[in-house]
C-alpha cells in the first residue's frame, strides 16, 4: 500500500523544472526516511522530532539518517546507530524490556480487571437484599408493572 502512495508521489512530483529537495532511490527509502525522522527525537529540544527541529544536532541527525537510508540500511539499523550515540531517549518508541513491559501489560490488565469488576459487582448487587432504602419510593407493584411493560415492548419488536 505504501508503495502505491509513494510511487504516486514520485511519479507526479516530477514536473517542469522543479526538483525534489532530496533524491531517493526508491519510494520505500523515501517512506523510511520520513518514518525515521518522525520517530527520532531531537536530544536538545523541547520535545520535537528531528523532522520539525532546526537545532544543529537535529539537522545533523537528519543528514545522517538520510545517509544511512540511502546506503540501504533498514529501520532497526538506523535506530541502533542513533541510540548507541544518544541513548534510548532519542527514539519515541520506548525499548521493550522487563521494566518497560508494564507499559503494555498494565492496560491489558486494566481491561481484564474492569471486566472482572463488572461481573463481581453484578453478582453482588443481584444477591443484595436492602432492608429498606430511601430510593425505593414504592413497593413491588411498580417493579412488576415495569416488567410487564418490558414484556410488551419485547413482543412488539
Amino acid at each position: 500500500m505504501k508503495y502505491f502512495i509513494f510511487s504516486l508521489l514520485l511519479i507526479t512530483a516530477a514536473a517542469q523544472g522543479t526538483q525534489a529537495l532530496i533524491e531517493f532511490k526508491s519510494p520505500e527509502q523515501q517512506a523510511l526516511f520520513k518514518e525515521l525522522t518522525h520517530e527520532l527525537r531531537c536530544p536538545k529540544c523541547q520535545n520535537q522530532n528531528i523532522a520539525d527541529s532546526n537545532a544543529v544536532v537535529a539537522v545533523d541527525m537528519r543528514a545522517k539518517t538520510l545517509e544511512l537510508v540511502q546506503q540501504g540500511q533498514n529501520k532497526e539499523q538506523v535506530l541502533d546507530y542513533m541510540k548507541s550515540r544518544y541513548g534510548d531517549f532519542v527514539h519515541y518508541q520506548p525499548p521493550l524490556n522487563k521494566f518497560t513491559l508494564i507499559l503494555w501489560l498494565l492496560p491489558a490488565l486494566m481491561v481484564c480487571g474492569l471486566i472482572v469488576l463488572l461481573l463481581v459487582r453484578r453478582r453482588a448487587e443481584r444477591s443484595l437484599v436492602l432492608p429498606e432504602s430511601s430510593e425505593k419510593t414504592q413497593p413491588q407493584p411498580l417493579e412488576q408493572q415495569l416488567d410487564q411493560l418490558i414484556e410488551q415492548y419485547r413482543r412488539k419488536s
Binding site: 512530483a13 532530496i22 520535545n47 523532522a51 534510548d88 520506548p94 507499559l103 411493560l149
Partner: protein, 658 residues
C-alpha cells in the same frame, strides 16, 4: 493605578472565596439557613471582582502599560490591538487569571441555575468550589501575580507576544479549554457534596449531568481548536503530537466522556454509583494534574510555561490536599452506600460499562505514556522517550472494540435485551457499513489500504447504526415527523455526538493513509504536480507587516488542468522576538486540504517549498464539532429544567433512552 485596583479586587476576591469556602459549608452542617443563603451573593461577588480584575489586566495591555512586568514580557506597541488583548493569557500569570475568571464564572453559574437543588446540597457544592477557589486565588496573588510592577525602571517597549501565539487560534482556544478544564470542578463539587451528605439517589445524577455535559462540551471544543490551530499554524500539516500538554487536556476529556456515560447509568438505573463518584473526582483531578504538569517544569514540552519549582511545589501540595483529600473522603464514605440493580449480561448497563472500560484504559495509556519516562528516570533506570509510535499503537487496539461496542450500544435496552429483535437492524447496519466503506475506497481507487479500510468500516458502523437507531426511535412515535417533535433532546444529542465520533475516526484513518507530500526547489514560473493537482509558483515578494518582515509566495493551483484556487503562503521574521514563522497556505474542502508552506530561499533565486494534499483532514475537526454540538443539544433536554418536586418515575417509556 488601574493595575493596583486590579490587584486589590483580586485580594478582595480571595477573601470572598474564603468566606464562600467556610460559610455555606458551615451552614450545611449546622442547618443554618442564613449561612446557606449567603452562598449565592458570595458567588456573584466573587465573579464580579474577578471580572473587574481581568478587565484591569486587559486595560494594562490595551494601553501598553509596560510598567507592569507581565505586560512588558508579553506585549509590544507594534502588536495589533486584538493580539494585545489576547496576550493577556499569553503567559503563565495571565493565563492563571483567566483560570480564575473561568472558575468564578462557573461558581456564579452554579449559584444562578440551581434553584431546583435543595439548599443544603447547593451550599455544599458552593463550599467545595470555594475551597478550590481559595487555593487558586492564593496561588495567583502570592506566587503568580500578573500585576507586579517593575517601577521605578520600566522598558520603553515590550518583548512582544510569541509569534506562534499571534493567531486567531490563540483568541479562542485557551478560553474554551479552560471553560472545560475548570468546568469539571462543578461535577467534582457535586460528588464531594454528595459524599458529605451520604445520599446518592438518582436525582443527584440527574442534577450533575448537565453541568458535566457543559464542561465536556467546552473541553471537546477546546481540544479541537488546539488541534486545528496547530495544523494551520505550525507549517508541517500535523494535527496532534502527543505532547505532554496535549495529553494533559486529553486525559480529563477521556474520563469526562466515561463520566457522562456512567452518570447515565446512575441516573436511569441507580447503579454504578461509587464508580460515577470516582470518575467525577478523577476528571477534575486530571485537570489539576494537567495544570501541575504544564507549570512545574517536571516534563519537557513545547507548550509549557516557564518552569518554576516553587510554583510546582505549591501546585503539588494543592493537588495532595484536593485530590488526596477527596479520595480519602471517598474511601471512608463510599462503603456505606449500596446500590441494588438487576441487569442481564446483554443489557445497556453492561455496554456502557464496556464504554468505560475502553475510555479509562485509554486514559491509563495516555497517563503511562506521559509520566512513565519520569518514573523510569527517578528509579535510576535511565532516560527513555514515549511518543507517537507508542500511543498510536495502543490507541489502534483500543479504538476497534470501542467503536464496535458503540455501534451496538444505542440499540440495547436497559436491564435486558434479547438478541433476536436486534438481528435484523444489525444486519442492515453491517450491510450499510460494508457498502459505505468499500464504496468510498473504490471511489478513491484503492481497496487494499488497511488503515483507511478499518477507519471507514468502524466509522460507517457507528454512524449508520446511530442514524438507523434514531429513525427507528422516531418511528415509534407513529411517524418520523411526529417523532421529531416528541423525542427528547438527550436522544438527538447522543445520536449527533456518536455520528461526530464516527466522522472523527474516518477523518483520522483517511488522512493518515492518503496524505501525500513533497518538498521541492522552485523558481517563479515553475510548476509541481502532486496527487493530480498542479501547483504553479507565480511569484515571491517581500513583506512588511505591523511587527514582522518576510516573504510571501503566490501560487496558482489547478486540478487536471482546471483552475482551482490561488494560494498565498508567507514566511515571517518577527523583529522583536527574532523568530521565524511559517504562515502556510491552506485551501480547505471537506474532501481534502491543499497545504503549502514556504521554506528557505536557496541560491540561484529558487525557493524551498513543501506541498501537502491531505484528504479528509477536515473531518477530524468536523467530528469534534459534531460531538460538542451533540453535547449542547443533550444539555437542552427538558428534564434538566424540571423542578425537584416532580418524580423521576414518570415516563417509563423512556426506558430505552440514554
Amino acid at each position: 493605578m488601574i493595575a493596583e485596583y486590579g490587584q486589590l479586587a483580586l485580594t478582595f476576591a480571595l477573601c470572598i472565596s474564603l468566606a464562600l469556602a467556610i460559610v455555606p459549608l458551615y451552614g450545611s452542617f449546622k442547618g443554618q439557613q442564613t449561612a446557606l443563603q449567603l452562598g449565592n451573593p458570595l458567588a456573584y461577588a466573587l465573579f464580579l471582582l474577578t471580572a473587574f480584575s481581568f478587565w484591569a489586566l486587559s486595560y494594562a495591555f490595551w494601553s501598553n502599560d509596560f510598567t507592569v512586568v507581565y505586560v512588558a514580557t508579553n506585549s509590544n506597541t507594534l502588536l495589533p490591538w486584538y493580539y494585545r488583548l489576547t496576550a493577556v493569557w499569553g503567559g503563565h500569570e495571565g493565563s492563571m487569571l483567566l483560570w480564575l475568571l473561568t472558575l468564578s464564572g462557573w461558581i456564579a453559574a452554579v449559584a444562578m441555575f440551581s434553584r431546583s437543588l435543595p439548599l443544603q446540597f447547593q451550599g455544599r457544592i458552593l463550599g467545595v468550589m470555594g475551597l478550590i477557589a481559595v487555593g487558586f486565588y492564593a496561588f495567583v496573588l502570592f506566587m503568580s501575580n500578573p500585576f507586579m510592577r517593575s517601577l521605578p525602571y520600566f522598558p520603553v517597549d515590550g518583548r512582544d507576544l510569541n509569534p506562534l501565539l499571534q493567531d486567531f487560534g490563540m483568541i479562542i482556544h485557551p478560553p474554551m479549554l479552560y471553560m472545560g478544564y475548570v468546568g469539571f470542578a462543578v461535577s467534582f463539587a457535586f460528588a464531594i457534596a454528595a459524599l458529605m451528605g451520604g445520599k446518592f439517589d438518582s436525582t443527584w445524577a440527574r442534577w450533575a449531568r448537565p453541568w458535566t455535559l457543559a464542561a465536556w462540551m467546552f473541553l471537546t471544543l477546546g481540544i479541537m481548536l488546539g488541534s486545528w490551530w496547530a495544523y494551520a499554524e505550525l507549517g508541517w500539516g500535523g494535527w496532534w503530537f502527543w505532547d505532554p500538554v496535549e495529553n494533559a487536556s486529553f486525559m480529563p476529556w477521556l474520563v469526562g466522556t466515561a463520566l457522562i456515560h456512567s452518570l447515565a447509568v446512575t441516573e436511569k438505573r441507580g447503579t454504578f454509583k461509587s464508580w460515577t463518584v470516582l470518575l467525577a473526582i478523577a476528571a477534575f483531578s486530571l485537570s489539576l494534574l494537567g495544570a501541575f504538569l504544564v507549570r512545574s517544569g517536571v516534563l519537557v514540552s513545547v507548550h509549557s510555561f516557564a518552569a518554576d519549582p516553587d510554583r510546582g511545589l505549591y501546585l503539588l501540595a494543592f493537588l495532595l490536599v484536593v485530590v488526596g483529600g477527596s479520595l480519602l473522603l471517598y474511601a471512608l464514605r463510599m462503603n456505606s452506600v449500596r446500590s441494588q440493580a438487576r441487569y442481564e449480561l446483554f443489557s445497556r448497563e453492561v455496554l456502557l460499562w464496556g464504554n468505560n472500560i475502553f475510555l479509562l484504559t485509554a486514559t491509563l495509556v495516555v497517563l503511562l505514556g506521559t509520566l512513565f519516562p519520569l518514573v523510569h528516570k527517578e528509579l535510576g533506570l535511565g532516560s527513555i522517550s514515549i511518543g507517537e509510535p507508542f500511543f498510536n499503537q495502543l490507541f489502534y487496539y483500543l479504538v476497534i472494540p470501542f467503536a464496535l461496542l458503540l455501534g451496538l450500544g444505542p440499540w440495547v435496552r436497559w436491564k435486558q435485551q434479547q438478541v433476536q429483535p436486534l438481528l435484523k437492524p444489525m444486519s442492515l447496519i453491517a450491510i450499510a457499513t460494508l457498502i459505505l466503506a468499500l464504496g468510498t475506497l473504490a471511489a478513491m481507487q484503492s481497496i487494499q489500504a488497511n488503515l483507511a479500510l478499518l477507519g471507514l468500516l468502524l466509522g460507517a458502523w457507528v454512524g449508520s447504526s446511530a442514524i438507523f437507531e434514531l429513525l427507528q426511535r422516531l418511528q415509534q412515535f407513529g411517524s418520523v415527523k411526529q417523532g421529531l417533535t416528541k423525542l427528547n433532546a438527550s436522544h438527538f444529542g447522543m445520536t449527533l455526538a456518536h455520528i461526530g465520533f464516527a466522522v472523527l475516526v474516518i477523518g483520522v484513518a483517511m488522512t493518515k493513509t492518503y496524505s501525500v507530500e513533497t518538498q521541492v526547489r522552485m523558481k517563479a514560473g515553475e510548476q509541481v504536480e502532486l496527487a493530480g493537482y498542479q501547483f504553479m509558483l507565480v511569484e515571491v515578494y517581500p513583506l512588511n507587516g505591523p511587527n514582522y518582515k518576510g516573504e510571501a509566495a503566490e501560487l496558482d493551483v489547478s486540478y487536471k488542468g482546471d483552475y482551482v484556487t490561488h494560494l498565498h503562503a508567507e514566511k515571517r521574521f518577527y523583529t522583536v522576538q527574532r523568530s521565524v514563522m511559517t504562515e502556510a497556505a491552506v485551501h480547505a474542502r471537506l474532501s481534502r486540504d491543499l497545504y503549502v508552506a514556504l521554506g528557505e530561499s536557496l541560491s540561484d533565486d529558487s525557493w524551498a517549498l513543501s506541498f501537502y494534499v491531505k484528504p479528509f483532514v477536515r473531518w477530524i475537526w468536523l467530528g469534534g464539532l459534531l460531538m460538542a454540538l451533540g453535547g449542547l443539544i443533550a444539555l437542552c433536554d427538558k428534564r434538566y429544567r424540571r423542578g425537584a418536586s416532580q418524580k423521576d418515575a414518570v415516563k417509563q417509556k423512556d426506558s430505552a433512552d440514554a
